[in-house]
Subunit: 233 residues, 2 copies
Amino acid sequence: MLSVIKEGIPAIDNSSLVDKVEASLVQLLQQQKLKIGDPIPKEMELATTLGVSRTVIREALLRLRMMGLIESKKKKGAVITSPDVFGNISKSMNPYILDQETLKEMFELRLVLEIGMADLLFNRVKKEDIEELKRIVANEPPVTQYHLFNIEHEIAFHGKLYEISGNKTMKKFQKMLLPIFDYVHNSGILKEQPFITTFVSHKGLVDILEKGDADKFRAGMRNHLENHFKRLF
Amino acid sequence: MLSVIKEGIPAIDNSSLVDKVEASLVQLLQQQKLKIGDPIPKEMELATTLGVSRTVIREALLRLRMMGLIESKKKKGAVITSPDVFGNISKSMNPYILDQETLKEMFELRLVLEIGMADLLFNRVKKEDIEELKRIVANEPPVTQYHLFNIEHEIAFHGKLYEISGNKTMKKFQKMLLPIFDYVHNSGILKEQPFITTFVSHKGLVDILEKGDADKFRAGMRNHLENHFKRLF
DNA sequence: AAATGTATTATGTCAGACATAATAAAATTA
DNA sequence: TAATTTTATTATGTCTGACATAATACATTT
């Protein structure tokens, strides 16, 4: 059998030229400790240096660009950028492209994030934030007719929370999640919207954020999102 | 002033040819309701149909491939795939590429997720899951010397939780976050590791998952992660 | 010195060619 | 005839060379 000599056979590299160049470039970016904004060598230089055609270089650079590692400008060449982790996948975050399973999981993800972020909020919230939240809440319709699910107020309020969390990555994540959440909410993926039960209002959450603690906020947020959770389980 | 005629000037199309082709292709994928595995037209066909060179088509296709929308095979052409939202950015999730701010935020993100996932766990956990968790916990070192922070046990336990959550997207997300978390944990980005205080152990969490409720679990998990939180604030 | 025009440069796009791997078709063999 | 091998086909991968275009630097003019 082949198994005898199998050991001696090195794993053949199935990677294409572009793959190698890409790895090479990533390594370059890591090693050289280049600062953000620093230019990387021109396409032709890279091509001659690495001994491949410009086509291959371009494709590899394109990948880096998609990964958010570089940004190419005409004439100026490509410069290093701080990778925007989620910015780049937001394009593929299209409700019409993702399958229902994934869409539902995105929906869940938002709920998980907002319940779990309590500690970040309490450790970073400022007086001005509370005031702005109160201002936002003041403009909301009364709870009795809140089942209209005013999307704008939802975004204003919950978006502000993400902001308070001080976690920009999470905020970007939310921004990406928003259209998905909205789509799932209005599509037939989830169970029917249940009759509205009483729940902690936005105002209630602000109160907790002002006078309560993280544990109370988690419970409050969980309750606030009850109508969403009901549609999951 | 120009402002008079400014209104009449349409926003010039700053997008490149590739941009347009990309948009065109994405639209194609959405409209035609193509099933997963269906092939899309060959590069040359697209080139002639859309009236651009094969180079442009290739670059646009490459973008779709990076977004995880298609997968190209030799001879067979490109086929539609279910986009793996996070799988594609895992490459750029390199600790050495991301800036410290983002790294820290990723660290936080994990904490947020694990506290917020309680409801998913309680609604989806099965008897077998509890048993497996118990098995995992049984193999762990005693709490007294737990400060060794055995990474393997950490991954085994917490990874299982993500699995129980039934949210594959979140699990992928965790998988992507893992190396980041480990890196941040061991780097100088965070505050010094505090002296270990008592906290809810893995075993304690399993107990809660078996007999408690979501609220208790959140509090327990928050406490379990206390040593991580201490390094943040 | 400010505004304008010109030259340069690096990316964007094009076209055509060959290499390569995966598949389909044909030929061979048992 | 069925199974295997050989050959042909096909679509992507890579290469080369060229021109277009936009951003910048330089020179010119006012």
